[in-house]
């Protein structure tokens, strides 16, 4: 398996997801089921490492790349992790250019408010998970 193919497979997963762990189903399908590059257990380990590490949760793709083909895979994983982020630049430029239009302004405001609303269950779930884990450790 070439580095380029690992990069493209990981990129396919990251570019079609909209959150750090959102790429997991695609990675499972490509790396575990289709190409058998990593075992299901190894993928779980990679996810656990990603969750337990500070920084972006999506960084687990670095571990997936490493477990698939070694350190070149880790580099491919890092590149696949960062590549989609640059899609924010044309989006930001476009939004800024049209922000003086009231309807566009309202559209952006709605995304901000809806995004804030979606943060509430995420924050509560994180805190509840943390309390559950602490109670289990007692």
């Amino acid at each position: 398996m070439s580095v380029a193919l690992v990069y493209l497979l990981l990129l396919k997963a990251t570019v079609t997801s909209f959150a750090g762990m959102g790429s997991l189903p695609q990675i499972r399908q490509d790396f575990v089921d289709t190409y058998h590059l990593v075992s299901a257990d190894a993928l779980s380990e990679a996810v656990l490492v990603g969750r337990a590490t500070p920084g972006p949760m999506g960084a687990y793709v670095v571990a997936v790349g490493y477990l698939a083909i070694g350190w070149p895979g880790a580099v491919a994983g890092w590149l696949a992790l960062i590549t989609p982020a640059f899609a924010a630049l044309p989006l930001l430029a476009t939004v800024q250019r049209w922000l003086h239009v009231p309807r566009v302004r309202a559209l952006v405001d709605a995304v901000i408010v809806a995004g804030a609303a979606l943060l509430i269950p995420s924050g509560i779930l994180l805190a509840v998970d943390a309390v559950r884990q602490l109670l289990r450790l007692r």
């Binding site: 079609t16 750090g20 972006p56 924010a88 901000i112």
Partner: protein, 194 residues
């Protein structure tokens, strides 16, 4: 104020890589740091958050790319994304290479749980700070309408991206009295023409 590339990279590396549990908590830390240094105001932060939510991939990296580009154009975007991703990626690589399971040790499990709790509180604080400017500007009907729509779609199991897209369309279609900006376009988001 405009930071140097080094200042920007340092701040982003510090704030993104000191939380566990996802990028939302990191965004809140970055908002606080940016505002304290007057690099980015609250509404521009809101714009970055909106853009990052609609960008494929990891949200916090898209946020950093947007912030870096705004502050130092291409060099800033590249430095910000590198600073946000390299430390965590190196730790992940190191742990995967040595097959170390951090969560095997009780003391680390406790530290991680406490870190997750703090991250949860930061996420809730982030939600509050994102809507605060709209509520202060008297736009609570807009906030309530969009938030209730988003909440309802979340409860029926829609994905976040679909919820954001539907909310965006709904927001732009709301009656002008509800949707019209009660505050002027935020500093730094005015129209720029080449």
């Amino acid at each position: 104020m405009t930071p140097s590339i080094r200042q920007l990279a340092w701040l982003i590396a510090r704030d993104v890589n000191r939380t566990v549990g996802g990028g939302n908590a990191s965004m809140e830390l970055l908002r606080r740091s940016f505002e304290a240094r007057e690099w980015v105001d609250a509404q521009t932060h809101g714009l970055f958050v909106a853009v990052s939510r609609l960008t494929p991939g990891t949200n916090i990296l898209a946020y950093c790319a947007a912030a870096g580009w705004r502050l130092q154009r291409w060099r800033g975007a590249a430095a910000a994304v590198a600073a946000a991703s390299i430390p965590g990626a190196l730790i992940v690589f190191g742990l995967a290479a040595t097959l170390v399971r951090l969560d095997r040790y009780p003391a680390i499990q406790i530290a991680l749980s406490l870190g997750m709790f703090v991250a949860g509180m930061l996420v809730l604080s982030s939600a509050f700070n994102l809507v605060k400017p709209y509520v202060r500007a008297g736009r609570w009907p807009f906030v309530a309408t969009v938030a209730m729509l988003a909440g309802a779609l979340y409860l029926v199991g829609w994905t976040p991206v679909r919820i954001l897209l539907v909310s965006a369309v709904a927001g732009s279609l709301l009656p002008p009295k509800t949707s019209a900006p009660a505050v002027p376009a935020p500093k730094g988001t005015e129209v720029t023409r080449a």
